[in-house]
């Protein structure tokens, strides 16, 4: 009798502990990268994808900032999800996001002042990035903290790679450089005519549109 009890107890303990990176969890990260990309499929966060993708360097900073904010706000909201009263959940989410964004902005100001000047108001505007709030409402409110962190990482990376690709083409054709390194002069092409359209928001729309087109042709995704 006693051995039986011990065995079932062991089984019960083992069952809920899932591998740290099980198939399901890997999917949480990989889904937003392509099939369920927040920018190209869900079409969220377009505003910042247009605003800060003129050059690679600010875009990279923005990617890191947004990913950090999504991950930590997911973690915080998920940890206190059972305490949050349903009627005020949106404002609670907003308060958490706003706090994190302000922290990011203050840290940038203290240690990366030049970047802080370039990004200026756009860091503050992470608060209004629909991806962050969308993930909180759709995922973190209903899932455990660890899964929520993975979900945040997935969404953050999904957002990041899209805006980095957009920024790559915009900086290459708009300013003739990558990370402020003059590419065309380095390979021997002098006076490369830069395209002013790429520096405008219109350039971002075009690159993003082409990106969505290519992606949907490959995945066969159709909007209903």
């Amino acid at each position: 009798m006693s051995t039986e009890v011990a065995e079932t107890e062991v089984k019960q303990e083992k069952k809920p502990s899932e591998a740290l990176l099980s198939k399901r969890r890997k999917k949480i990260i990989s889904d937003p990268l392509n099939d369920d990309n927040p920018v190209t499929v869900q079409v969220l966060g377009i505003c910042s994808a247009l605003a800060i993708t003129i050059k690679m360097e600010p875009t990279l900073t923005m990617s890191i900032a947004v990913t950090a904010v999504i991950v930590f706000s997911n973690l915080i909201i998920s940890s206190i999800r059972n305490l949050i009263p349903g009627r005020v959940r949106i404002i609670v989410q907003l308060a958490v996001i706003a706090t994190l964004v302000t922290l990011v902005s203050e840290v940038l100001k203290a240690y990366y002042f030049d970047m802080y000047k370039v990004l200026g108001a756009f860091v503050g505007l992470i608060i209004t990035n629909c991806i962050v709030m969308g993930r909180l409402e759709a995922y973190a409110m209903a899932n455990k903290p660890y899964d929520s962190i993975l979900d945040g990482l997935g969404s953050g990376f999904g957002y990041s790679w899209i805006i980095l690709v957009v920024a790559f083409f915009r900086e290459l054709f708009g300013s003739g450089s990558i990370f402020d390194f003059k590419v065309f002069e380095a390979v021997g092409i002098q006076n490369f005519p830069t395209n002013g359209l790429m520096v405008d928001s219109i350039g971002a729309f075009m690159v993003l549109g082409i990106l969505i087109w290519v992606q949907r042709t490959k995945t066969g995704y159709v909007e209903h």
């Binding site: 305490l83 302000t102 922290l103 203050e106 100001k109 203290a110 200026g120 108001a121 520096v199 405008d200």
Partner: protein, 249 residues
């Protein structure tokens, strides 16, 4: 699950206190680092207006160079020296906040002057700070004049929220280089310099600077800022000029 109003109120209060506390803590802890960055940034811009500082990477080196090379004073709208405020406290040029002064009437403002000195202690360049409105928010700048007080030796601009890649280009050396060598005086009359519309313009006069494509309005802001502040500093410029002629005679 429907929760009671008391719970919701309590929850909101506790959350507010925690988040508020976190933010104020971060603000207090990061303040010294931020102030250091701002001081460094100011001195970087002052030096950047007269010389190439891109090779200096260490903040300490830059601050040391600043202390060695730059002497500063503060003047009023008439170009007269101001050394102490109403309470008798000494005024330090580096501590004068141009942005705060911008809110006062021009007669009440303080105008810092930075003098870049060469090896023998002679003044090689005069650097004047300025402040104005760009397209979206404030812009500020430093203009360095050669010792003839006419030729522009260099400029350094800053902004709060001009569009990256468009108006924000005023902070790039590519755009700032275009001001070098331009003149602010036509004979004895102050005409300032102005950015023109469009980019790649040919046949510019010595008072015209090639503009930024897609950022004409930021350029206009820069123009009016230059015009206004050079006007404020003109009495000082005149004093210095006449002082020099007297000395020569």
């Amino acid at each position: 699950m429907q929760r009671s109003n008391t719970y919701i109120l309590l929850f909101s209060m506790v959350l507010t206190i925690i988040l508020g506390g976190l933010l104020s803590m971060a603000s207090v802890m990061l303040k010294p680092a931020q102030e250091k960055q701002i001081e460094l940034d100011t001195k970087k811009k002052i030096l950047g207006a007269v010389m190439d500082i891109s090779s200096i990477k260490k903040p300490e080196e830059l601050l040391a160079l600043y202390d060695q090379k730059v002497k500063s004073e503060v003047v009023d709208i008439n170009g007269d020296l101001v050394t102490a405020d109403e309470k008798g406290n000494p005024i330090v040029a580096e501590k004068v906040n141009i942005q705060k002064n911008y809110r006062f009437a021009p007669e009440d403002r303080l105008f810092p002057v930075y003098k870049f000195t060469g090896e023998s202690g002679t003044v090689e360049a005069y650097i004047f700070p300025m402040f104005g409105a760009g397209l979206w928010d404030w812009i500020s700048g430093y203009i360095a004049l050669e010792d003839d007080l006419n030729t522009i030796k260099g400029v350094a601009f800053d902004h709060k929220s001009e569009t990256p890649g468009l108006g924000a280009r005023i902070t790039t050396s590519e755009v700032q280089q275009r001001f070098v060598g331009k003149k602010i005086y036509e004979g004895n009359e102050l005409v300032s310099v102005a950015m023109v519309k469009g980019e790649g313009n040919q046949g510019l006069t010595e008072h015209q600077v090639d503009g930024m494509s897609g950022a004409t309005l930021t350029g206009k802001g820069v123009n009016s800022m230059l015009q206004t502040y050079l006007g404020y500093y003109e009495p000082y410029l005149q004093q210095k000029k006449s002082g020099e002629t007297v000395a020569l005679n």
